[in-house]
């Protein structure tokens, strides 16, 4: 894409959250064949990958055309939504980052958390596709090289260890803030170096192969769930589904709710189960429970819509 037009900037930069959600909503259901292929062979069958990219582009174009048929354009108003899908189609001209993310996840794609892993890969891949489309890669690479001694200095000061730290820590908000603070303090007149944490993060995203977008972008916590309407019904579904778990899955799920204490170890010791087996059953229990609760929520939505 190279130079972005104003409509592209509106969707791919200013309103990226809306755009990515919309694009992923369309392409995610199309990726199953590719996921199966990677789960089987460690890499996608080339014909299946090409077919996925082609189907994704066609599905996006169908949505674009359907919207464009019914929308006008008013002066000064936001660009019509069809232009978001036009920008999305251009992104799929270079879908390699999405492919790389899926390949890197490997067998996790078809594991117990498969759907969440696939979603995360597609989201991170799309984010990288957007960066590749919108950035002047050569100049940004120069800036990235200039950031290296700063990162090395900060790693030394803070005791960060690239080889040991979890990627979540390596690219955390604290790291981005430390880099941005350092640039503002030591290079106050240099406008090429990133001066805001989000801008630093964009360099990690673009240049670090093991970067992935933090999960909290779409995730909710306990306090969020308590804000949802009819919260007690949600809890009732959870408890009904817990009651339907077969044993030992139900008991193991109950034990797994204890986090960061010795309950799991004590349980394994008491019943003579290895921790590996415990976690294997726990993963299965969580998958069964998720399927049950999410199935009930979906059925409830369909029933209420009637």
């Amino acid at each position: 894409m190279g130079q972005l037009g104003p409509d592209d900037r509106y969707w791919l930069e200013s309103n990226w959250t809306i755009s990515s959600r919309s694009i992923l909503g369309i392409v995610t259901p199309l990726v199953d064949e590719v996921v199966d292929s990677i789960g089987r062979d460690g890499k996608p069958d080339e014909a299946l990958w090409t077919r996925f990219v082609d189907r994704a582009a066609r599905a996006l174009d169908r949505t674009r055309a359907a919207l464009a048929a019914n929308e006008g354009r008013r002066a000064g108003a936001a660009p019509p939504r069809s232009t978001m899908y036009a920008a999305a189609i251009s992104l799929f001209g270079d879908a390699e980052p999405m492919r790389d993310e899926l390949v890197r996840a490997g067998e996790r794609l078809t594991g117990p958390d498969g759907p969440a892993v696939v979603w995360g890969c597609l989201r991170s891949g799309l984010y990288r596709m957007r960066l590749r489309a919108s950035s002047d890669v050569e100049n940004r690479a120069k800036t990235w090289r200039r950031l290296q001694p700063i990162l090395a200095l900060l790693r030394n000061e803070h005791g960060w260890d690239d080889h040991r730290d979890d990627p979540r820590e390596r690219y955390s908000k604290a790291v981005c803030e430390a880099v941005a603070d350092h640039v503002r303090d030591h290079f106050p007149a240099d406008k090429n170096l990133p001066r805001e944490p989000d801008t630093v993060r964009a360099y990690f995203v673009q240049f670090c192969d093991d970067y992935y977008e933090p999960e909290d972008v779409f995730d909710v916590g306990a306090a969020d769930v308590e804000m949802l309407p009819d919260f007690q019904r949600g809890l009732a579904y959870l408890n009904e589904c817990r009651g339907e778990l077969p044993e030992p899955h139900g008991e193991i799920y109950a034990v797994s709710l204890h986090r960061g204490d010795t309950t799991v170890s004590a349980f394994c010791l008491k019943i003579g189960m290895s921790r590996r087996k415990f976690h294997h059953i726990r993963e299965k229990a969580e998958a069964l429970l998720s399927d049950c609760v999410l199935g009930k929520l979906r059925a409830r939505m369909l029933e209420a819509a009637r």
Binding site: L24, G221, A223, E226, L235, L257, L294
Partner: protein, 181 residues
């Protein structure tokens, strides 16, 4: 620490895939903004918010903005939001009252059963700030929710303490914060 049922539910919701079409979400978003400001929920829309991550995200974003505004007004009136057991409140009393301005939190052991009851009482001024449909939540610095619910017309919310550890013991190491839900 054992995670709460709400946290367990959150972990399940975070595995959910999108179930609504883009056009459905776009049509729903204006109504979600109304619900965030206290409009009564339509049954089908409430179900959609549970079944669609995008709808949920849109609603929670709008709702957080409304609650942030309420917190600002609460702070302007200098009503209490943080509650700490003073070192002077030593021992293991059967009753403790925390807070003064706008809200009090009372923790009392029921005679006979020995169950602990947690009560929040809002002053009329404080209650008047809270929009219809907005509840209060008391949580501690360790992430445990002590009480959550809609205030009654006198500004009261009650809950029984349901953990093994005594609330008095927990208050020695944790502070309480009032939030809105």
């Amino acid at each position: 620490m054992k995670i709460s049922e709400a946290q367990a539910l959150a972990e399940i919701l975070n595995r959910q895939h999108e179930t609504l079409e883009e056009a459905e979400i776009a049509e729903l978003e204006p109504r979600l903004a109304d619900y965030a400001r206290g409009a009564p929920w339509r049954d089908d829309d409430a179900a959609r918010v549970w079944a669609s991550p995008s709808a949920r995200r849109a609603y929670l974003g709008a709702r957080r903005a409304v609650l942030a505004e309420l917190e600002m007004r609460w702070a302007d009136r200098r009503f209490d939001r943080s509650f700490v057991r003073m070192a002077a409140d030593d021992g293991d009393p059967d009753e403790l009252v925390l807070g003064e301005a706008g809200v009090t939190v009372r923790i009392v052991r029921a005679p006979g059963s020995g169950d602990w009851l947690v009560s929040v009482a809002l002053s009329p001024d404080a209650l008047a700030l809270i929009p219809a449909g907005t509840g209060v939540r008391i949580a501690d610095s360790g992430g445990v929710t002590w009480l959550s619910g809609l205030p009654d017309r006198d500004g009261g919310v009650d809950a029984f303490w349901d953990r093994d550890e005594s609330p008095m013991t927990r208050l020695r190491t944790h502070s309480l914060t009032l939030g809105f839900v």
